[in-house]
Symmetry: C2
Subunit: 123 residues, 2 copies
Amino acid sequence: MPDTTEPAERIQISVHHRELLDQVLDKWSLQVLDELCEQPLRFNELRRSIPVVTQKSLTATLRRLERNGMVDRVVVSSRPVAVEYRIASLGRSIQELIDALFHWSTEHMSDVERARARFDDEG
Amino acid sequence: MPDTTEPAERIQISVHHRELLDQVLDKWSLQVLDELCEQPLRFNELRRSIPVVTQKSLTATLRRLERNGMVDRVVVSSRPVAVEYRIASLGRSIQELIDALFHWSTEHMSDVERARARFDDEG
DNA sequence: CGGGATCCTGCAGGATACTG
DNA sequence: CAGTATCCTGCAGGATCCCG
């Protein structure tokens, strides 16, 4: 697979890496990964644990994460059909980073809010 | 400031934290912060260093980052007007995390691509 | 140079209904 | 239960022109 684009000025993160981070760090993915890192969950359990997500968005998020190897979709039984989502090893590998991000956001939230107030005042 | 929402089941990251991370981890912000961590840049310099970004998106990204206290907008001179964007201390505080994310993405890119191929094949 | 103002479009994502 | 299908809407974000 030859590299078609990128003259690579400096070290420049390629568009592929941005795309990957976009798919993994988006609005819902962060929370889904966070939840699944603690325990496997079924579709509706997951949905309940992230109250505001719609079914469609959750489905799309799970498919994307599954495609990127971050979570595993496991059909457990098949009476009324039960599906369990489990964190995959690739998902595990980013757990610390996600935790760190959540930690950073709680750590610095008040600073951010002060900055926002200042910015909005001075308009 | 009393807490209006959140029954706080488990520890649950609040919607505010998600929102903050959304505003800081989005498509362009990651790169802008990355660039500015290395050196202050003017608007068009920044634009050139992130080739695909449009003027509008870059402006919006910079405003958002400025509002959140992540970057400082400094009017340097004023002949044809020169504006410099500098990383702020809040921005610095997330630098390591962003580096770690880039590092993670390069580290695991091949795994992800293999997962994608598998997923797309079995479709 | 560093943007602001407009116009326009795609598509992410909500609401709703249906299915194996 | 775990989705798929459809319809619909907002708005992110591109293109273009203009300004101090």
